[in-house]
Amino acid sequence: MTFWEEFLPALMSGVATTLKMLAIAMPASVALGILLGTLRVYGDRISSTVATAIVVTFRGFPLMVTLLILFFGLADFKIYLTPYWAAVLGFILCSGSYQSEYVRGAIRSIDIGQSLAARAIGMTKLQEVLYIILPQAIRRALPGISNELIYMIKYSSLAFVVGVQEMFAISKSFNYRYFRPIETFMTLAIIYLIMTTVATVGFKWLENKLRIPGLEISGR
């Protein structure tokens, strides 16, 4: 078998593993980011303190260290995560923490009149946040959230440290065996590039779809 005949099928199985991680980690990290960002603005003292602690911790830890702690460290406490779930959990916590800051900033940028009008028609705080504030804030946070998710595609390669057989881990082991770095890593890089480009186009589409008519700048 030639190098390519062996490498490509293996790489494809790695691509599938990477996509399986992202399929869970991306939406879950967005949900966590929205939750943490919202709690930091609207939560009571306890919940906002807990949310702040989570954000500070997982933005402060290097992701690689977080992954090692989740996989090896938790094992000391008899919590055994599979490599896949340790990686996915690490991505969710890291990306969600970063995303929460975009959400928090976006919530803060919504003018107070929106809240006053919501309260004036009798909305509870929760209704105000769910129906009035978040729909607007999430739109404003979307470019930042997209940015974080594109990062995530790339740093999903860090899952190799806990032994996930994703596309980077597979490429690395092929390069050890055959020492053909240009072929292996350029192929890998192109696949990452395709993924990030598809994501960029997707987020752009979503931003357009959620655009509020009349709020865009039409001049130059």
Binding site: G113, Q114, L116, A118, A120, G122, Q136, R139, P213, G214
Partner: protein, 253 residues
Amino acid sequence: MGKEVVLRAEDIHKSYGRLRVLRGVTFDIRRGETKVIAGPSGAGKSTLLRCLNLLTMPDKGKVWLEDVELTNPSVDINKMRQRIGFVFQEFNLFHHLTALDNVMIGLTKVKKLPKEEALRRAKEALLTVHITEDLWHKYPAQLSGGQKQRVAIARALAMNPLIILYDEPTSALDPQLVGEVLQVMKELARKGVTGLVVTHEIGFALEVADEIMFMYDGIILEKGPPNEVVFSPKHEATKKFFEKIGRLYGERR
């Protein structure tokens, strides 16, 4: 007037730090009445209005809506606010919702009406303020100031309020758009929708108000039928104010 009191404020006080914005305001308003609050900037008009639905919490004093004391901490204020319409100077339409959805959201999410019922009432309210079908699916940013404020009035009206509080509803509008909003407010007043209006539009007050309350320095300095308060006021401050307003606004109707 034998009609029952809809809203009553009793001895309302509010300070911000050492600044005493409201220094004991008492009044009531009966079903079907329209009352106008006028007075110079800083007199406490907007603060008073916000104290009535507790968007601002008064330091002291009581507010009743019919026979429920809103200032009683055990009262569910969210529930009571459904019955107090509030129209803001800056419109405050929900930016992410169409005109129709702005009116509907209170009906579906707060009153939890079924969708068809909410839709019917929202459309009815929009038509009442002369927002025609071609505008129902426009977003606030696509509407003129006058249209926005009329949608905001419809949003308040659709909740079937006992009273609508208007906080300088025409002050943020271009002069040529003021008329359409005042027209809608007059029509509502004539239909018997109870209203309390903070405004400098003396023409509006003279035409439809049952009473003008002139606020000065945190109190109601004088009140009475619009003609008396505007044209033969008892206090020097009242006289000065209406002379100045008269020059600025003319007798716009």
